[in-house]
């Protein structure tokens, strides 16, 4: 039973039930399809998902990781700190899309792009999820 699962594990994160991000990531679009019947689509999170979508090989991602790398304090000699803080402040607004939404974001990219070795017949009808995968207008930098 799922309720037993949470007792296990010391180092591993072992939730006793899947979060919405997990579910979006793992099961959305997966499963058997009954031919000739239209699926009801997921509603209510499209706005989030459009905003949230991220592409690994994108300038947006690069800037985020550049920022994260700059923020590291591994070579911190004192003089770096104000500069690091400055960089942090400047990027404050930009960072807002990366926290709360990252679960959904990764979930949807995972669900949409990263499927492999899936029988293609199961992927025919995905009406509303299209919204999540359409190339989104990124916020301009």
């Amino acid at each position: 039973m799922t309720s037993m699962a949470q007792q296990r594990g010391g180092y591993i994160d072992r939730p006793h039930s899947s979060s919405l991000a997990d579910v979006l990531n793992i099961i959305l679009d997966k499963g058997l399809v009954i031919d000739a019947y239209v699926r009801v689509s997921l509603v209510g999170i499209e706005i989030l998902t459009i905003d949230a979508r991220i592409v690994i090989a994108s300038v947006d991602t690069y800037l985020r990781f550049a920022e994260a790398t700059n923020r590291l304090d591994l070579y911190q000699h004192g003089k770096d700190l104000p500069e690091v803080m400055e960089g942090l402040n400047r990027s404050g607004a930009k960072g807002k899309s990366s926290g709360l939404l990252s679960g959904v974001k990764e979930a949807l990219t995972g669900g949409d792009e990263a499927r492999q070795s899936r029988p293609s017949e199961e992927q025919e009808e995905r009406p509303r999820q299209k919204a999540a995968s359409r190339p989104e207008p990124r916020k301009s930098e």
Binding site: V23, I26, K30, G31, L32, R39, V59
Partner: protein, 252 residues
């Protein structure tokens, strides 16, 4: 299993397929908070919820209910998950048309997942730890990090993009090594596996595994071992037992 005439006439939300006569855990809460029922025909039964208003289906709560129902069933016995959002117009369509026509397909599907459940392992880097590795290993990253540190984002835009690009490349390179080790450790304990590509630059791997019930403990133990060995550097999240979402349909 038909409750009454009204339910028969209702749209049926279909979670998945189980062998006829399979014991469904009691008290399941389905989509729209409604109870879960079973409609059988021949050797197989559909796990369903009669819904009054199919138009209002599809909320994130419904998605969670869909997975919770399927995973709870999967913890106890075999189930073939339907794709989220599957609704058929009434119980008769399911019992008289769909289930009878799909017997062979469901037989094959259930054979494939018999005595097994899915587990999903997601491994992700502890970002700062691995970024520090990359800075230490790649002089160009270290240089660009210094060069951009004191400057505004605008003033150092191109250096920042280049820095981020090198860092992301470094992450992907590390992930290809680390994910191989993870997949190699877990695959022998699984009947089948599916590896999904990273959806985030700091993902190591996401692995879906169809695990024999007999091997479940060993699989969990090995996942825990991996997490312990990588503690502080890679975080592991393990979901399951789940319905075999990645192992339905034609065999890969």
């Amino acid at each position: 299993m038909k409750e009454d005439q009204i339910n028969d006439m209702s749209d049926q939300y279909v979670y998945g397929i189980v062998p006829a006569g399979a014991a469904i855990p009691p008290g399941l809460s389905g989509v729209q908070g409604e109870p879960v029922d079973v409609l059988a025909a021949g050797d197989y039964a559909a796990v369903v919820t009669a819904v009054g208003d199919a138009e209002s289906l599809g909320t994130p709560e419904d998605l969670l209910a869909h997975s919770a129902v399927l995973d709870t069933i999967a913890a106890a016995g075999p189930v073939l998950p339907m794709v989220f959002g599957t609704v058929v117009p009434d119980a008769d369509v399911l019992v008289d048309e769909i289930l009878p026509s799909m017997q062979d397909s469901y037989a094959a599907g259930l054979r494939r997942v018999r005595n097994a459940a899915q587990f999903t392992v997601r491994a992700r880097y502890a970002r700062d730890v691995v970024l520090a590795e990359i800075v230490a290993e790649n002089p160009e990253v270290a240089r660009l990090r210094e060069a951009t540190a004191g400057h505004s984002e605008e003033a150092s835009h191109f250096d920042r993009v280049r820095l981020g690009e090198l860092v992301v490349e470094g992450l992907r390179r590390k992930a290809s090594e680390d994910s191989t080790a993870i997949v190699n450790a877990l695959s022998p304990l699984a009947r089948e596996t599916v590896t999904r590509e990273a959806s985030q630059a700091d993902d190591v791997v996401e692995l879906a595994a169809l695990v024999d019930r007999d091997a479940q403990q060993r699989f969990e133990q090995e996942a825990e071992n991996l997490a312990r060995k990588s503690a502080g550097r890679i975080t592991f999240r393990l979901l399951g037992p789940q319905a075999p979402y990645d192992f339905v349909g034609e065999e890969a």
